[in-house]
C-alpha cells in the first residue's frame, strides 16, 4: 500500500516548488501500469517514475484541472502509465496540511487507482542541500487521508535523489521547468520536461 519515488519524480516536484516560491503549486505523479494484479500486490510498493507539474497560483478552480487530467490521462495510456498520486505545496511556507483542493483531487485519483497517494511538500525544510526528504505522504484509508512518515525508504535511491535534486537546484534548472499553466500560456511548452529528464539521467 506504499509508494516509492524515483529521483526524476522527486526532482521535478521540488523544482516546481522552487520555481514559484511565492505561489501554491500542485501536480501529478505517475507510475508504470502493472501488467497483472498480483495476489500479494499490496506488499510491493508502487514506484512513481515521473511527475507532471500542473499549476501555480490559484489551485481551486475546476476547468483547467479537468483539462489537465484528461490530457495527462490520454498521455498515460499511450505510455502505459497510470496516475498514481498528487502533490501540492501551499502558498504559505508554514502551512503544509492538505486542504480541500488536495483532498478532492486525491480522492478523484483514488477512484481510478486504489493505492493513490497524496503528497504535501514541507517548504519549511526546503534547502538547496536537500539533506532530508521534505514530503509528507498521505494514504487513502476508508475515505480518510492518513499521514505516513517519509524517510529514505520512500525513495528508489535516496542518496541519488538528494545529490541530483541539490545539483539541479544549484544550477537553477527550475527556471526551465514547464508546468501545465506554462503549457496553456504557450502550447510549445512541453509539460513532460524532456530537457530536465535528460539532465537527471545525465547526472545519474
Amino acid at each position: 500500500m506504499s509508494i516509492k519515488l524515483t529521483t526524476q519524480a522527486y526532482c521535478k516536484m521540488l523544482l516546481h516548488a522552487a520555481k514559484y516560491p511565492h505561489c501554491a503549486v500542485n501536480g501529478l505523479l505517475v507510475a508504470e501500469k502493472q501488467k497483472e494484479k498480483k495476489k500479494d500486490s499490496h506488499s510491493t510498493p508502487i514506484l512513481c517514475v515521473d511527475c507532471i507539474p500542473l499549476f501555480h497560483g490559484t489551485l481551486a478552480l475546476a476547468p483547467m484541472l479537468e483539462v489537465a487530467l484528461t490530457l495527462i490521462d490520454t498521455w498515460c495510456k499511450e505510455n502505459k502509465y497510470v496516475i498514481a498520486g498528487y502533490y501540492q505545496a501551499n502558498e504559505r511556507t508554514k502551512d503544509f496540511r492538505p486542504n480541500q483542493v488536495a483532498e478532492k483531487v486525491g480522492a478523484r485519483i483514488a477512484e481510478n487507482f486504489s493505492e493513490a497517494a497524496m503528497i504535501m511538500v514541507d517548504s519549511t525544510r526546503f534547502t538547496m542541500g536537500c539533506y532530508e526528504p521534505i514530503l509528507a505522504i498521505y494514504d487513502h484509508h476508508e475515505n480518510k487521508w492518513k499521514c505516513r512518515d517519509c524517510n529514505a525508504d520512500c525513495f528508489e535511491d535516496w542518496c541519488e535523489a538528494q545529490k541530483i535534486t541539490s545539483a539541479l537546484l544549484e544550477g537553477r534548472s527550475y527556471e526551465s521547468l514547464i508546468d501545465f499553466d506554462n503549457h496553456l500560456d504557450d502550447l510549445r511548452n512541453d509539460w513532460t520536461n524532456p530537457e530536465i529528464n535528460k539532465s537527471v539521467l545525465h547526472l545519474c
Partner: protein, 277 residues
C-alpha cells in the same frame, strides 16, 4: 562567478532597460532582478542618474524575495539617505520587517504612515498582506472589503479579493469581484476567462451556460487564449451531456464543442505538439 554582463554579453544600458521592462510588467522574477540589479548598482551606479533610486527600490523588493537581507539593507540605507522622512521609503522599511517575519513591528511602521496620511493606500494594503501571510484569511477578506468600500477603483485590490475568495471556495463572492473588474475593463480577456472559470467551478446548468458564454467572450477578445478555448470545449460538452437540456440546446452545444475541438487541434498542429484530443 562570471558577471551577468559577461555571461549574457550585455551592456549596462541593456541591463538597465531590462530592469525597466520588468518593472513595467510587474514581473516577480526576483532572482534575475537581484542578479542584474546588484551588478548594475555595484558597477554602474554613477551612470544611472536619477534612475538609480527606482532601481534601488526594485532591487530591494526583489532582494527581500530572495532572503538577501544584506542587499535589501544596503538599498534601504541609500533610499533613506536620499529621501529622509519619505512615506514611500517607510513602506519599504515595513516590507523588510515583513520579510523578517517581524509582523508587529511592520504593522506599527504602517500605522505610523497612516497616522500622518490616513489615505495612504500602500500602507493599508501592506497591513492586509500581513494578515494574509499569517494565514488570517477571514480577517484579510474583511479588511480588504472595508478598503474597497473607500477605494472602489483599486483594481489590484479587487483582483486580490477575488483570489482570497477563490481560496476559501466562496465562488459567488469571487464572481462578484471579477464582475467589478469586467465592468471597468470590458476588453480584458483575462478577467472574462477567470470569471468563466469561477462560474464553471460553481457548477449547475445555469452557471455552466454562463461560463460557456464568458469563455466565448474571452476568445472573441483574444483568440489566442487557450484557457478560454479549452473552457469553451469543457463547458459546452458538459451542457450537451446534461439530462436537463432539451434537444435544441444539446445540439447547439455539441456544435460548439466540436468547433472548439477543431480549433484546439489546429492550435496544437500550429505549435507542432503531438497531443490531440
Amino acid at each position: 562567478m562570471a558577471s551577468v554582463s559577461e555571461m549574457y554579453d550585455v551592456t549596462w544600458e541593456e541591463m538597465r532597460d531590462k530592469l525597466r521592462k520588468w518593472r513595467e510588467d510587474n514581473h516577480r522574477n526576483s532572482e534575475q532582478i537581484v542578479d542584474v540589479g546588484e551588478e548594475l548598482i555595484n558597477e554602474h551606479a554613477s551612470k544611472l542618474g536619477d534612475d538609480i533610486w527606482i532601481i534601488y527600490e526594485q532591487v530591494m523588493i526583489a532582494a527581500l524575495d530572495c532572503s538577501r537581507d544584506d542587499l535589501a539593507w544596503t538599498c534601504l540605507q541609500e533610499l533613506k539617505k536620499q529621501f529622509p522622512g519619505s512615506q514611500r521609503v517607510k513602506r519599504l522599511a515595513g516590507m523588510r520587517l515583513e520579510a523578517l517575519e517581524k509582523y508587529e513591528d511592520a504593522s506599527k511602521q504602517y500605522d505610523s504612515i497612516l497616522q500622518d496620511d490616513p489615505t495612504n493606500t500602500a500602507a493599508r494594503k501592506r497591513k492586509i498582506s500581513i494578515l494574509k501571510a499569517q494565514g488570517k484569511s477571514a480577517e484579510a477578506i474583511r479588511e480588504l472589503n472595508e478598503y474597497l468600500e473607500q477605494f472602489v477603483g483599486d483594481q489590484e485590490a479587487w483582483h486580490e479579493l477575488s483570489e482570497l475568495y477563490i481560496n476559501e471556495h466562496d465562488y459567488g463572492k469571487a464572481a462578484f469581484c471579477l464582475e467589478e473588474l469586467m465592468m471597468t475593463n470590458p476588453h480584458n480577456h483575462l478577467y472574462c476567462e477567470q470569471y468563466a472559470e469561477v462560474k464553471y467551478t460553481q457548477g449547475g446548468l445555469e452557471n455552466l451556460e454562463l461560463s460557456r458564454k464568458y469563455f466565448a467572450q474571452a476568445l472573441k477578445l483574444n483568440n489566442g487564449n487557450m484557457r478560454a478555448l479549452f473552457g469553451l470545449y469543457m463547458s459546452a460538452s458538459h451542457i450537451a451531456a446534461s439530462p436537463k437540456v432539451n434537444a435544441t440546446v444539446k445540439k447547439a452545444n455539441v456544435k460548439y464543442a466540436a468547433w472548439a475541438t477543431n480549433q484546439i487541434n489546429r492550435a496544437y498542429q500550429v505549435s507542432h505538439a503531438r497531443y490531440l484530443l
